[in-house]
Amino acid sequence: MFKISAEPIHLEALGRALHDVAAGACATFEGRVRIKNDGRTVQSLEYEAFAPLAEKEGARILEEAAARFGILKAVCVHRTGRLALGDLAVWVGVTSEHRGAAFDACRYIIDQTKLRVPIWKREHYADGTTVWVGVAGTPPV
């Protein structure tokens, strides 16, 4: 399941959805809003997504991970909206029999999500400026 969520991500329910008596391993990844990016002090973030295509492309990434690594279950949830420092922006969880597949698939999913899924991030800095990340020369608003 790959989901775009405008609401805060609830880790407990997601963790339960992954449980499986066949699973010996669960690897997870949390991406959070950190205070520094490229040397600038971040105050908050905004994420925006083209949700229908993001969820389709995300589902394809999860299928690819299942086919490549032979995992049991995989979930990825990505936030949209305004996030404060420390807030959870993206969560990936993967269960598998053995740990190698869980780690490899978890990393594949977050790497591909960042590359391919139509989600955009605006960083707001302590100095009052703001940038759409990945878009050089974004004018301040």
Binding site: E48, F50, I110, P118, I119, W120, G134, P139
Partner: protein
Amino acid sequence: MKTIRVQYFALLREERGLAEETVATAAATAAELYDELRVRHGFTLPRERLRAAVNEEFAPWTAGLKEGDALVFLPPVAGG
């Protein structure tokens, strides 16, 4: 002339000043439509930095447009 629904996200949404519009266009492809709208609205991103999506699926820039298609021009992504 065709009627095309265009959605804007991120920088394009801000530059256009709205999230969605319906345009009447003679553009035959996604590429032609972006080039037309870029001139009209002064978008700063060159087409090479974007991808196109037609009807909620990635599409090549050469994709032909049909009446009623839903277009999205996707700025460089930055999830996570």
